[in-house]
């Protein structure tokens, strides 16, 4: 049976189930916590550090990321202490410097009332939220991409930056990317994902004849996911 616990969130007592993250509890109770690397379809990643909150335990306070902190009964959580806000603001400033033109970062800056960054602008597009890599691994199960290098040279890419041999061209990475850093184009029966250096042949729907998926994806759905031809060979509108 699921254990019910009570936590204090911004001064209010809230009931939650054990194993529920602070972020989930907050969202359920309409308390806003900003995130940049969180996606409900993916495991918590805790890399953007935007979702920091302050917790109090045995008289000691510390900052934790709410996306992957699962409180136990009686935990006191505050989402907007001075330390949370000042730390979060500096982290956002760092992201504004890295990816100044990024729409997600800008949206967050607007919402949190940050207009300028004090740091030198770098002009990278990718914010390294890791959603593409995680979606490919956790949801699709293909692991075609990963991170290369460390520190500021870190980037999502294919093994050895070679054209991916395992990418099935499903496009999950592109759909999940919050920044527009990843691009995908379907043209003349070919799907191109420049970031992974792949050009994959598209197949036509057996019913309507529209190009709808890559050859590799259809094969993957049949062989690895056990989908019947009746489903795998037709587009989502004709199924």
């Amino acid at each position: 049976m699921e254990q019910t616990i009570t936590v204090t969130l911004n001064g209010k007592e809230v009931t939650a189930t054990e194993g529920e993250s602070i972020l989930d509890i907050a969202r359920r109770t309409h308390v806003y916590i900003p995130t940049l690397c969180h996606n409900d379809a993916l495991e918590p990643y805790a890399a953007c550090r935007m979702c920091l909150v302050e917790i109090e335990q045995r008289g000691r306070t510390r900052l934790v990321t709410s996306c992957n902190y699962y409180p136990s009964d009686g935990l006191v959580i505050t989402t907007d202490t001075e330390r949370v806000v000042s730390t979060r603001n500096v982290i956002l400033e760092l992201l504004m410097a890295r990816a100044s033109g990024n729409r997600e970062v800008q949206k967050l800056a607007d919402r949190l009332g940050m207009s300028e960054t004090r740091f030198k602008k770098v002009g990278d597009d990718c914010i390294l939220c890791g959603m593409c890599v995680r979606a490919c691994s956790e949801v699709v199960g293909v692991d075609a991409i990963g991170f290369q290098n460390r520190g500021i040279s870190r980037m999502p890419t294919t093994p050895y930056m070679d054209p991916s041999e395992t990418c099935i061209g499903c496009g999950s990475c592109v759909y999940v990317c919050p920044t527009g850093y990843l691009t995908m184009e379907d043209k003349d029966g070919i799907r191109t994902i420049k970031n992974w250096k792949v050009e994959l042949k598209l197949v036509q729907c057996k019913e309507c004849g529209e190009y709808f998926a890559t050859e590799r994806l259809v094969q993957f759905l049949k062989e690895k996911k056990g989908l019947s031809e009746a489903i795998a060979d037709v587009c989502e509108y004709c199924r």
Binding site: A47, L52, Y70, S86, I91, L95, R154
Partner: protein, 616 residues
């Protein structure tokens, strides 16, 4: 030959001791990495040749030992039983040393250690100030035994603690002993080992693991390397005892790839321990089985962080994991895993054989036993030192270290590796232990200690460590990755004379955010060099920013070189050493520096015999 019981180990040891004549002439040549790179292998070979030539071969043993610690003076050679200590022994000195010491029964004075302060020659190791103040518990066998010979280790009591644990103690009693000894993790965190062991014991899991963290990556630190190289069995014995206490059959030693000798000696030690029956099935004839595998790190500093290290062992990229769960509960493959560092494991046999009461007789209230430091930088005696917890910084730097090099003034000491802090002179009488260093905004870390003199620019120091960390951050979380890059940029600006009003405050804000917001301990402590230098040397930052001046005369963009006409003797050495021909002048007449050509490399400053080169 397998040793099947504790009693048989004891009789084997007695046999070994019987076959060894304590008065037999021995020449111990240091085989630590420092001495090896200074040619100690060749020195040992030439000793053998010389002994043959002098017909002394049959009466004398030449032994390569682990690191003696006084690396700066290597290659080091000790004659036993006389106890004579020779330093900087080159191939050339060997015949004289053999002749004086063995043929004539005296000493070869030229190779003795001379006290730089009293100019006195000192005969024996224990009388040299560098060794005198030390308490060598963990380094007990370093420089004494051949690390590649398990019988050497057994003869000095090795594996006796294991035998005691297996035959006289229950696993719970072993944990109690470690707990009562308050053995705290020497890797930096200072977490009580006994408490961690208990967590692993209480945690649920089909299998459990023990790990030895030998991924020592701090610049200028070589404590763990010396132990792994010089006394690998002490680490292995500690791990076997820990495995018995915790109840596991599998252990890993994670060693840096950059430590080839440590890897080699550990492999040899593991093979020998298996052959003797200390590892493998039914250790010492008991039901307990355990073995150790070596995993070599790929060269990432962050893999010293425990969760990144475990990821690396599992074959994943070495990145810290973002989970608020202790690896003692869910570590390797989500199973309970106990990780301690090299020095902590090497302490375990001592705790078990001598007991908690003995162990706690040394140290401070909160930190017991000894700590090994690598004492480097602007200090006269550079090397590996082991002192009781609670020794003051002043005792370590002045009594053991012999004071500041070139008799300059002390400025700061950086403890705890790249993420440690810089401690100024007013805290020199601080007792060194886990808690006191943390109070000063630094940390024990794994035991790096870098001494800096008054010709050190603290902004430049902060920049150096930040630069190291920029390269070593794994890049997963924003505050560490982006914060370090921006921090370095600001420091580069300040040291180039382009600092702005508000830069110090910005560095402080940034440092706080990195400290509070980072994912792992690397990022959480990465701002320490900057924050601690701002805290204690704020005026130096201000001088760089407001006056565009580097008070220590270090930052090239903020200094000028000139030659004092009255002091210059016209020796031409500066002109010869100048890489850009910026110095002109006739022989025996004052020289001048063309400031437009000068690249401020300091070569003239270093070479001038009369200190006529001035930095302003």
């Amino acid at each position: 030959m397998r040793i099947e019981s504790a009693a048989k180990l004891e009789s084997y040891r007695t046999e070994l001791l019987k076959s060894q004549d304590p008065d037999r002439q021995k020449i111990l040549v240091c085989g630590g990495t420092g001495c090896l790179s200074n040619g100690s292998m060749e020195v040992a070979r030439v000793f053998e040749d010389e002994l043959k030539a002098q017909n002394l071969k049959a009466e004398v043993d030449v032994k390569m030992t682990g690191c003696h610690g006084f690396c700066e003076r290597g290659p080091l050679v000790v004659f036993l039983p006389q106890g004579v200590f020779y330093e900087r022994v080159g191939v050339k000195q060997v015949p004289d040393i053999v002749k004086s010491t063995l043929v004539e029964g005296g000493v070869f004075k030229k190779s003795l250690y001379k006290d730089p302060n009293t100019k006195e020659e000192i005969l024996k190791e224990e009388d040299i100030p560098f060794y005198k103040g030390q308490l060598r518990w963990v380094l007990r066998n370093n420089g004494r035994i051949d690390p590649t010979n398990i019988d050497d280790y057994i003869a000095v009591g090795g594996y006796g603690a294991l035998a005691k644990a297996l035959s006289d103690m229950t696993p719970a009693q072993v944990v109690d002993e470690v707990d009562n000894a308050n053995l705290r993790g020497r890797g930096g965190g200072g977490f009580p080992a006994g408490r961690k062991w208990r967590t692993v014991i209480d945690a649920e899991g089909d299998r459990k693991f023990v790990i030895c963290n030998g991924d020592e990556g701090d610049p200028g630190a070589f404590m763990d390397r010396s132990i792994m190289e010089g006394d690998p069995h002490s680490v292995i014995e500690g791990m076997i005892i820990g495995a018995y206490a915790i109840g596991t059959d599998t252990g890993y030693i994670y060693v840096r790839m950059e430590y080839p000798l440590a890897v080699k000696n550990l492999y040899k030690a593991l093979d020998d321990a298996r052959e003797r029956g200390f590892l493998g099935k039914n250790i010492l004839g008991t039901d307990f089985s355990f073995d150790i595998e070596i995993v070599r790190g790929g060269g990432a500093f962050v893999c010293g962080e425990s969760s990144a290290l475990m990821a690396s062992i599992m074959g994943k990229a070495g990145e810290p994991r973002a989970k608020y769960v202790r690896s003692a509960e869910k570590g390797l493959w989500d199973l309970p895993t106990n990780l301690n560092n090299v020095e902590t494991w090497a302490n375990v046999p001592l705790v078990v054989s001598r007991g908690a009461d003995w162990f706690t007789s040394v140290g401070t209230d909160g930190s017991k036993g000894t700590k090994v430091f690598s004492l480097v930088g602007s200090v006269k005696n550079v090397g590996l030192v082991e002192v009781p917890m609670g020794y003051t910084l002043r005792q370590i730097i002045y009594d053991i270290g012999g004071g500041i090099l070139n008799d300059r003034e002390f400025k700061a000491v950086q403890t705890g590796g790249p993420s440690g802090g810089c401690i100024p002179e007013k805290y020199l009488d601080t007792k060194v232990d886990f808690d006191e260093l943390t109070k000063l905004g630094s940390m024990m870390g794994s035991g790096g200690m870098i001494v800096m003199d008054n010709e050190t620019c603290m902004v430049d120091v902060a920049k150096y460590f930040t630069n190291f960390l920029v390269d070593e951050s794994c890049g997963k979380c924003v505050p560490c990755r982006e914060g370090l890059r921006q921090m370095l940029g600001i420091l580069e600006r300040i040291t180039a004379g382009k600092g702005k009003e508000g830069d110090i405050e910005l560095l402080e804000d940034l440092g706080d955010a990195m400290t509070w917001g980072s994912l792992c301990a690397l990022g959480g402590s990465a701002a320490n060099p900057v924050l601690s230098t701002i805290k204690y040397f704020r005026d130096e930052y201000e001088a760089h920013i407001k006056e565009k001046r580097c008070p220590a005369g270090v930052c090239p963009d903020l200094i000028e070189f000139s030659i004092d006409k009255d002091a210059c003797i016209g020796c031409t050495r500066c002109a010869k050493v100048c890489p850009v021909s910026a110095i002109a002048g006739e022989n025996k007449k004052p020289h001048t520096i063309d400031k437009s050509k000068c690249i401020r490399c300091r070569a003239c400053y270093e070479v001038c015999p009369t200190d006529a080169v001035r930095i302003t």
